[in-house]
Amino acid sequence: MGAARVVVTGLGAVSPLGLSAEEMWTGLCAGRCGIGRLRAFDPAGFPCELAGEVPEYRIRDYLPKSHRKAAKLMCRDIELAIMAAQDAVVHSGLRTKAVDPDNVNVDPTRMAVNFGAGMISCDLMELAPAVAAAVVDGKFDLRQWGSQGLPLVTPLWLLKYLPNMLACHVGIIHDIQGPSNTITCAEASGHLAVGEAAQVIARGNADIALAGAAEAKVNAIMMVRQCLLKRIATGCSDPESACRPFDADATGSIFGEGAGVVVLESLENARRRGATILAELVGVGHSHNVHAVYEKLEPDGKGLQIAIEKALDDAEIGPENLGLIVPHGTGIPDDDRAEAAALQAALGGAAKTVPTWPTKSMLSTTGAASGALDLVAAVRAIHEATIPPAKNFAGAADGCRLNVLTEKRVGPIPYALCCSYTHGGQTAALVVKHFDDGGPAD
């Protein structure tokens, strides 16, 4: 039995460049930077006060009436996931329960959902009154917490912060009753979730999947973590030039928030309903660092190299077939160098010639969401036969000999490679193909 072919029929995004995949694409094409001075809280005291924040929104506008009461159970990560999922479903033309309850054109039991999520940091404000009630002699006291603090925590508090709730809310809203998973591999989560959802369809366990990831890193504790791990850019006050993937002047990354979602569908299902097919997902690869310095990608990029090689092998293509690489490219010098090493080892000479388009200079590093946003961007680039210009690349950092394009390029992209990795060491790569209508559905 052959595996079903899996195509992309919808794109959704919430990012520092706007509240839809359309706005993100327009922003990327214009080389617009979504990074600015952090607004969610007073960032004074951080060595870098910049972040990539999504524009203001009202979550109620995205919720069907039946799910509005659940809004109080949503942390920001969940909200972003819901918004991007809505964007993707509408774009795909699927009529789920949330979109058009009277004219549903999907079988809920044949739909899957797979969301990547980060470690969600709770809202400190929300906990503060309870914590304040547990202070004895100026210090937090556990016994006092148990008797005085704990009762002040809102009863359903935990449910706001469980990472699997992204998939659960999206599943409830769109009435998705098939396979459901939550990948928690930090910045590799997006690609891993999409890759697994594609495999769920390929093996016949679902016809349609909503897959992607969301994370809101704009939180004081999250920002502190990035500082302690020395991942944040230093000495920069200009948002436009702060994040510089693979550039000689890079000093670190800028962190932000977002969500990216793709609608995946078996080719047969997409054809049956006459959907617009944006691209085909043809290769999934993943591997792991073996390196006990967990906060860095291993210097030779071996784990990422293997993931890329596996994705190409899965797609049954060689490096010369690639027309676009969307790398993880965070602007953290050691990691960028290791990623470049991985690309060079996996792709050989092609690493120096295939157009490479890092996006985080504009989108910031959005944790789990980053791979999903990159995939949305790559699919759109294939569909439009356009590679927007990279930003903040003036000269390659040592060891980063990649073909980073600073000018827009127009022309067919037969295949695109997206890759990502995370501290801790999971690595992931996806290969997306320009869809040509032909051939059997499996």
């Binding site: 503060a128 704990l150 697994e196 060491g425």
Partner: protein, 440 residues
């Protein structure tokens, strides 16, 4: 995407566990056979004023005993430390060499992967609560953020912060084993490690890997974990009798018992196991996943999602409800789960529902959250090996509405060939795996 020319059969060749009933597989199994309880007063932190003052803790455990390179894992979280021990045991049983630079065990490291259902590590409590206190202006009821930032930057430690990430247990297993194959970590709440095993099995079937470390690791026994579950009123508060507090399917059940641990299976393609000449403990034959799509706070009233996952697993295995000898239930000891799970079993097993033994070892083990499913799956494999169904202990006052055969209080010797293992997560993610006696 490529597929294997032939669908690979997937078998279990190694198991390891670190849990409240013991820090190796046989100790766990002896405890389960004897109906012992792993539940006792909380000792990890002072929980004496919490609504629940007991839990199921891992005791007398040190991950350093399991590796020649403890320095690779310095500062790891409790959950990750458990994962290291469970993985080392499973590797040893499966004949996987963790020591040699060029292992001669016949496994290509790029085809040996990791799939864990794993949870977050504990916060650095002093620093976390300290920075909130520093920033909170009680009079104006608002945060003075620069104060919080200052204290957090001063007191938090990079390693402790990093080790909280839920993907870190898998990272430690990678450093321990050198696995370069497919790597994922998921967190579908209480269903996570069953899902991990199921998806790992799919990766082998598809031909993406020959060998996978599949399982889970989790400890939510920390102040905010206990707080969260207590506020949800999901935990038992039978503080005067911890050992009898976990009472799945009992009329007087009043919540689950927070546990911790790790469980790991080495699963591999039958071709690989044969080539390496290792012992096969059982075969994984079915996996099903579903979502309730109902409510965040409640399971679907009729167990629609749970039943669908069971049916999906049966279909995936090419079996019917008539083939199952034993159901290892999710059986958490909450009013809702045990009721809904019973309904779901009745829906799927029809006229056989009352004949198929369905027990919950959470009555002894407590609820290991992300690690629960894999630990329970290990007991399913042993149930097949020994033709013995573990009991549901503390089943002293049966709930008249729950009328299945829960194997009350005593293990049962009977032929066991095919077992269904069920796990259902908060929010409605359901996963079921079917394991079967291996026949060549």
């Amino acid at each position: 995407m490529k597929t294997a020319a032939n669908r690979q059969r997937v078998v279990v060749t190694g198991m390891g566990v670190v849990c409240p009933l013991g820090n190796d597989v046989e100790t766990l199994w002896q405890a389960v056979r004897a109906g012992r309880s792993g539940v006792a007063k909380t000792t990890i932190f002072d929980a004496s004023t919490f609504p629940t003052t007991f839990d199921a803790e891992v005791k007398n455990y040190d991950y350093r005993r399991h590796t020649r390179h403890p320095e690779f894992h310095e500062g790891c979280s409790r959950g990750s430390s458990f994962a290291i021990g469970a993985a080392a045991q499973a590797a040893e049983q499966a004949g996987i060499d963790l020591e040699a630079a060029q292992p001669a065990d016949g496994i290509d490291r790029t085809r040996m992967g990791i799939y864990l259902g794993a949870g977050e590590g504990s916060l650095d409590n002093d620093a976390f609560f300290g920075c909130i206190i520093a920033g909170w202006d009680n009079e104006r009821q608002e945060m003075v953020w620069p104060e919080t930032t200052r204290v957090a930057l001063e007191q938090m430690q990079a390693v402790h912060e990093l080790e909280q990430e839920p993907n870190m247990a898998a990272a430690h297993v990678a450093a321990l084993t050198g696995a370069r194959g497919p790597a994922r970590s998921c967190l579908t709440a209480c269903a996570a490690s069953t899902q991990a095993v199921g998806e790992a099995m799919m990766l082998i079937r598809k031909g993406d890997a020959d060998v996978m470390f599949a399982g889970g690791a989790h400890s939510m026994i920390h102040p905010l974990g206990l707080t969260g579950f207590n506020r949800l009123t999901a935990l038992s508060t039978r503080n005067d009798s911890p050992e009898t507090a976990s009472r799945p399917f009992c009329a007087s059940r009043d919540g689950f018992i927070l546990g911790e641990g790790a469980a790991m299976l080495v699963i591999e393609s039958l071709d690989s196991a044969r080539k390496r000449g290792v012992h096969v403990f059982a075969e994984l034959v079915g996996y099903g996943s579903s979502s309730d799509a109902f409510r965040i706070t409640d399971m679907h009233e009729e167990g629609r999602g749970a039943a669908q996952a069971m049916e999906a697993a049966l279909a995936n295995a090419g079996l019917t409800y008539k083939d199952i000898d034993y159901i290892n239930t999710h059986g958490t000891s909450t009013q809702e789960n045990d009721h809904v799970e019973t309904l779901a079993i009745k829906k799927v097993f029809k006229e056989r529902a009352q004949q198929v033994p369905a027990s919950s070892i959470k009555s002894m083990l407590g609820h290991l959250i992300g690690a629960a499913g894999a630990a329970e799956l290990i007991t399913c494999v042993l149930a097949i090996r020994d033709n013995l169904v573990p009991p549901t202990t503390n089943l002293t006052d049966p709930d008249p509405k729950l009328d299945l055969d829960y194997v009350p209080n005593e293990p049962r010797q009977m032929p066991v060939n095919i077992v269904m293992n069920e796990s259902f997560g908060f929010g409605g993610q359901n996963n079921v795996v079917i394991v079967r006696r291996f026949e060549d």
